[in-house]
Symmetry: C2
Subunit: 215 residues, 2 copies
Amino acid sequence: MPAGLTPDELAQVSAIASSTRTVRQGTRLYAAGDPFQSIYAIRTGSFKTVLVHRDGQPQVTNFYFSGYTLGLDAIGDGSYRCDAIALEDSVVCILPFRELNAVGQGSGEIQRHLMRLMSSEMARRGDMQVVLGMMSAGQRVATFLLNQSKWMRVRGYSNAEFVLRMSRTEIASHLGIKIETVSRMLRKFGEAHLIEHHGRHIRILDLDGLARVES
Amino acid sequence: MPAGLTPDELAQVSAIASSTRTVRQGTRLYAAGDPFQSIYAIRTGSFKTVLVHRDGQPQVTNFYFSGYTLGLDAIGDGSYRCDAIALEDSVVCILPFRELNAVGQGSGEIQRHLMRLMSSEMARRGDMQVVLGMMSAGQRVATFLLNQSKWMRVRGYSNAEFVLRMSRTEIASHLGIKIETVSRMLRKFGEAHLIEHHGRHIRILDLDGLARVES
DNA sequence: CGTTTTTTTGAGTACCCTCAACAACGGTGG
DNA sequence: CCACCGTTGTTGAGGGTACTCAAAAAAACG
């Protein structure tokens, strides 16, 4: 919860964010249908959110890294809409929504910050619609790599070399393609000298080239 | 802006929602990049939101009918992220965000309602991710028809017979498939006696059958 | 009624999926 | 330390779904 808050407001938020929770790799922070009580700010680690379709097949709707906030889409329903599962051992701040609202009552800035969070989450999903709606498999994988690269840079790491936190299966599900296709596209990018990869280890050789991928 | 507000709060919201705007078919309520000032509640009519990809191809991200609220995803950026275009002659209530926030300051309920709106919009986009990520063309079209049917019922019309407000091109773009495929799927559903269709006029014969469409 | 746009239909093709087998990795226990 | 095994990831061959291209039919418009 950074950005634009007065020290006083920050203190108020910190006060209710006092409790944290550790989530081991592969375990759930919350499950679809659980009653909504808190939103969670990721302090360390990363998560995926999974929506289970009626036929039982799960779809990875998003990935979240430290700094991001989970559970915002539950406000409307009163219950979480998807499972949130840790990709690695992670720690989250628990922000009880009731208390957050009480504090926000006195401070327009806190409320506005919450809305900004929700709004940018909406925007992210809108962008994902474009990826899933009009991009080829190659473009989807390229976009995914570029996003990863950007996130790494934002978090202070190299944007050219990093280790993916998620499996091929999770990547494929998120991009709406099959795991074999992810594999093939990575190989193709390797042959085109756009990247080098070794399992989950990725080195980007040509950022611009990736952005120009056609199919 | 219905639901759960006290008469006093409702009066406050109504006060700032005094001005309306008429948007003719095919014209824009707002454009991507416009500075964010207001959100808009649809009083009558319907809209599509369009996100233009870097290569110039537009993607229809969503359809909105009366009762829905437009522009919520602009709060984060400070500018609208997509074009909102009227599918028919429409009227919207203008809700200046600054004033809405000022009023909301005194009323937690108004703030919470705004958040519920944003949250359910997020949820809708999440559902769309599932449609685009793991459904066949047939399932996408079936899902689209069922959604239309549901919206019609909510608005008090027949859920079995209605006229689509959008073109095949817009449907196809929204579903991430090609216009010819939409056409073919509708014909297929007709041959299977799930629907009857005549241009934009749709009659659903077998709701359960549509829900069971596999490919 | 002619013109333009939208929708439908058909034939051929490309991309991605399916199925299957193999290789690489990581943990466990002998 | 290495053999063993389950999991995860890679590679290949073949097939199916949806796309592309093209043209006709239908609808919308002035």
